[in-house]
Symmetry: D2
Subunit: 397 residues, 4 copies
Amino acid sequence: MPLRFLTAGESHGPVELVIVEGLPAGLPLDADDINPDLARRQGLNATGKPYPGASPRMKLERDEARVLSGVMAGMTIGAPVAIQVDNNDHDKWKGKAVAPMTIPRPGHADLTGALKYGHRDLRMSLERASARETTARVAAGATARKLLGAFGVRVGSYVTQIGTVRADLSGLPLDARLTAAGESEVQCPDPESSAAMVVHIQEAMRGRDTLGGVFEVVALGVPPGLGSHVHWDRRLTGRLAQAMLSIHAMKGVEIGDAFENAGRPGTQVQDAIYKDPAGTLTRNTNRSGGLEGGITTGEPIVLRVAMKPIATTLTPIDSVDLVSGEPRPIEYERSDFCPVPRAGVIGEAMACLVLADALIEKLGGDSLAEMLQRFEALRRARLSDFDLDNTPTVFWP
Amino acid sequence: MPLRFLTAGESHGPVELVIVEGLPAGLPLDADDINPDLARRQGLNATGKPYPGASPRMKLERDEARVLSGVMAGMTIGAPVAIQVDNNDHDKWKGKAVAPMTIPRPGHADLTGALKYGHRDLRMSLERASARETTARVAAGATARKLLGAFGVRVGSYVTQIGTVRADLSGLPLDARLTAAGESEVQCPDPESSAAMVVHIQEAMRGRDTLGGVFEVVALGVPPGLGSHVHWDRRLTGRLAQAMLSIHAMKGVEIGDAFENAGRPGTQVQDAIYKDPAGTLTRNTNRSGGLEGGITTGEPIVLRVAMKPIATTLTPIDSVDLVSGEPRPIEYERSDFCPVPRAGVIGEAMACLVLADALIEKLGGDSLAEMLQRFEALRRARLSDFDLDNTPTVFWP
Amino acid sequence: MPLRFLTAGESHGPVELVIVEGLPAGLPLDADDINPDLARRQGLNATGKPYPGASPRMKLERDEARVLSGVMAGMTIGAPVAIQVDNNDHDKWKGKAVAPMTIPRPGHADLTGALKYGHRDLRMSLERASARETTARVAAGATARKLLGAFGVRVGSYVTQIGTVRADLSGLPLDARLTAAGESEVQCPDPESSAAMVVHIQEAMRGRDTLGGVFEVVALGVPPGLGSHVHWDRRLTGRLAQAMLSIHAMKGVEIGDAFENAGRPGTQVQDAIYKDPAGTLTRNTNRSGGLEGGITTGEPIVLRVAMKPIATTLTPIDSVDLVSGEPRPIEYERSDFCPVPRAGVIGEAMACLVLADALIEKLGGDSLAEMLQRFEALRRARLSDFDLDNTPTVFWP
Amino acid sequence: MPLRFLTAGESHGPVELVIVEGLPAGLPLDADDINPDLARRQGLNATGKPYPGASPRMKLERDEARVLSGVMAGMTIGAPVAIQVDNNDHDKWKGKAVAPMTIPRPGHADLTGALKYGHRDLRMSLERASARETTARVAAGATARKLLGAFGVRVGSYVTQIGTVRADLSGLPLDARLTAAGESEVQCPDPESSAAMVVHIQEAMRGRDTLGGVFEVVALGVPPGLGSHVHWDRRLTGRLAQAMLSIHAMKGVEIGDAFENAGRPGTQVQDAIYKDPAGTLTRNTNRSGGLEGGITTGEPIVLRVAMKPIATTLTPIDSVDLVSGEPRPIEYERSDFCPVPRAGVIGEAMACLVLADALIEKLGGDSLAEMLQRFEALRRARLSDFDLDNTPTVFWP
């Protein structure tokens, strides 16, 4: 696929890094396009205050992106864009002797990573497995978001569930959900649910436990025709699903109301096609979540993602010391109580990367000017595409 | 990734085809390894009878695989394996003039495919978008299944929900679920639910409607250490999710009980680690669905997939004739009323391909003998891996 | 990269097959677009007569392509295109018991393939390693050639050396070389050299030896701007080189006069830039072979490829019987004496595939109509691209 | 392919960067493994003195690698390895307003890059197109070299031709060539030729011209069985060729004596197979350059690469000012007169990356310990692999 990226960095190593290869030339880009998303990932809401239940680490450091390559005079040049974020916490670890970690925490990559790579000290698993890595993804995603923005595509997210508190957002338009989420301490568009979620998190903290939840990533203004039905790995449905479940702690994803739709009859699950007065084909519903046959319909893409609660709890969980072979409870490593409000922006980043990739596939991607010109031609072409006559055809002679 | 495949074929074209590249040499393989899965995909259950609500097409044709390459003297030789299945239905279409299809069916790729590729006759979308393509995937999956079998990995599936009928399988071991599903008309392990599902399908047929549902794909005997946490696209969680949602009509996927776990406290979602009398690390639970940090734990992998109801209903759905521009209901194209019982084997096929890919990554994949020898070494190595001493280490000098 | 293909088939298996994924929709395509290249690959020149020194196998079978998918009503639909060619020779091998081949032929994959894949019978190496596989590549290449043709790109080849006979083609335009090659028994544009080559081949046959040689693949009408300098694996220079040396028996490749240019001073190796009366930038030379910085210049691409002589000679070469461990000369397997005249079309096919891939990258590749429209915009845009003013810029603030 | 990398950085931007993804865990690695190759790339020979004809830039800066990720306690952890090298020259460019460059230099990507990406200032092409990018490749290559070293594979290079001076190295073993090259001012193993080359470069400098040449990259101790014949893009021959011609200014490559072998009869081009007293299969020659059927034979790999002279000459070359449209000679940009002695290490780096990739494919690549154990098993297995009996087989029933 045309847009690719590699991330690098350990949780307490010197930096988080990403190289994004395949961005077109001519896209205005600088650190200010990236830093707001980094702040959101750190759990700072619109007021600059941290979310309840966030790790104290966010107080230590404010992530700042440095664009190291691929941009000249404020614009991309078609070359790989490298972005670096310092790990301020690194200084505390530099030169410090650390006793080996030998009690694997269930739910993390501690044990599975060590088995795979032959690590003897579990920190060699967890340093890379840490969700700190998503810093680099969010930085990469911000470049993709900037590209999508030039085509009128807007990607946002909001929280619908934390622990047992579920928000009912029915009737609230997607646009309004994004706005309202920005005003919530926990990114939930419904003020009542939002307040209940805050209380629920505080209870979990007192109970020395953690909470997961559900968030939705939506993409507005997506043109029809991205992705494809012609081969399994071109289907955008699958590519978006991989992107979501490639994120730490994400274990479930649905496009639109997939699990509910599975229980409905077929006549209530499709989006009927109509023609508006201007002659444009439209839908009055978006049950498909914006994708038919692995291709965007032009309606908003709606992804719902299930995040499990953080595996590291103040309440000890049973494990085994790999040195002594004795049963031992896990030892606490500093972490969030409920990172769900911070997770949406990571989902957005991954969705942006997949959508930008598909957009470049559709338009070719050497320069923004070229892409915009072609995009305009697509917009114009729509209505006249179907000047079919009714002559029968022999498909297979 | 080391194992790759391309499928080809249209629904009414002469053949469905797949080339699988990257299988090791020395794997016994012939059509008999593939045909049973093809029969299951066609909706024939263990008794050879079609599932209720299946398309009449399955009566027309019994899919038969022909292995065209990559196998000599009954064994793979490391070369690409091509498998071909004839479309018996093709004869009816050969040489026949067909009036253009101009009314897009909501929920299919009819319109999105045509917009993307500039088709004027919607059949040029739907011929390739048809789920007939999964024939080729099931054939490919059967080769991967054969490889996995040599390492003791077994992949199966069962239905848990059809329309509004949900089966409660709690307490039933995975193994027993697979066995019981084979005896159900609709692949559901619970006899009572199974009977209710049959009734529900018959109601839907009478109501000129269709039904979706939920099935689970499970992989037993998977070794720990497949996949990786080190990069987003190596995480098996995401790769499996893509594989599932790359299948026609699949819109949701969860690993284990992801959406339920999102509502539980962290202390109830992890799988504590214990040591059994033989000194092996074990888990008493499998809430993770077999994956921690994007890596297999050695516990069964459990994937739950939501399938939407078939979009083509006998009850007309609103659409627009693209030639006249007038509102027109969709025209019926022959199809299933409820393909959920047939879908599981497709999910299995895709899971097999992803797992075989990850296994080859782990072991290298030139010959089965080499892989087996390395696999044996892995098994032996487990226990002695962690002879750590407790010397503190400076990670970053 | 957007255009990908997998080939399958053994030399004496039932078929050669290829699936080409990524061709745009709307490209007229049928077997007649493919068969002429297959005939050329079989060593039939314009008069339909086999080249001197060709294997008797070509008399046995005339390759015929069958397009099995991806084409409806004579046009591609954006779906994978599968092409099958029967191995007529297969009937002789079907059901026949064959004694194991145990004496590896130096210069073939007999031994290296067996070591890698653990084969015990060397035929399991050579069946797939045979150049018969290039049938599938030539079929794939013909689809790419058809696409390139729609943009005015023409790819051909000619022989410049067979054994010790070198043709001097200096002064002969590329166009004329292609025409003249078509009239030569050995694809050499210079009639005198051509005659000498025929004699040289006859001598080699009498001497129970084989001959290699050199051919050139040229692409005319290639637009500027294909490939890229921004990343190593986007550079067209390398991609073309891989394509050429991925062909059986090809061991050297140069772009333009690379090895001669290595001995010339810099002032004599570049292609100065001029402006013609119409205001278009032009070059009077093409020392670069059509590529600067890994990107096409718009001048013809010229690739020179060195082919080693066929490793199977009637004169025995020393080897070892792997069963007995005793020294044994190789046993003769039917093959060409000098396949160089047949090899050019394979080089063309691979060049076509790389160039079509790069063209789709540049233009996006969903439909031919879309690509042509964008191509036209590119052509128009060239001259006005450089309306620079002379304001100094701060690249790195 | 399992080992992948992305480079980033502009010639005068702040840094050169590379992320290498796919290295096994447990490989000792630090900057000292990388810096010697960086010094060689900068044109510093064993005595620390710059080569004759090198750019003055090398006096400005001594490249120093910083390993930013993927290494803990001195060993790789399986995670992506990021390496950064500062561009000391950047300080001079930071904040400086630069007049646009509007006269494209023939032979560079100035014009082709600008056409492709729509740049208006040619510096936006050349900053990324500069061979400064090879710094990042050499750093990546050094990590691959470290891995190969653990398996006894050694990769080196030497110069055989500069301008018109060709060294005759016949009779000199590869090992001795590498040693002697290290003692030459221009990396040429033959002292007499070396001296002549120095004189030739000085003449070119006085003549305000530049020189190209030819170098050879050799890999010693490569195990048999890397690469494959089963698919075009697995053939190591092509992968190595791409790697070489992906390097700036490299336009020709041959494996072994490909172009000479093209003129020899088949009986003189193969490497006969013998058995040594220990029972091991051996070759007395290496005409194949270490590759048969796209697979390594176990003999040294020998790659010969043609480099064109630097396109930027003090003697002006004709071009056109893109602003005025007037003919203008190129303006000089500081560069080498003859970078051939510096180029070999870049070729080595790319060869190391391809070979390490192929080694990981063969062995799997999670940890060095696992790889070494499997490698040992391969070594032991060789001789007993071929305990064939002579029972005839039916390949195709």
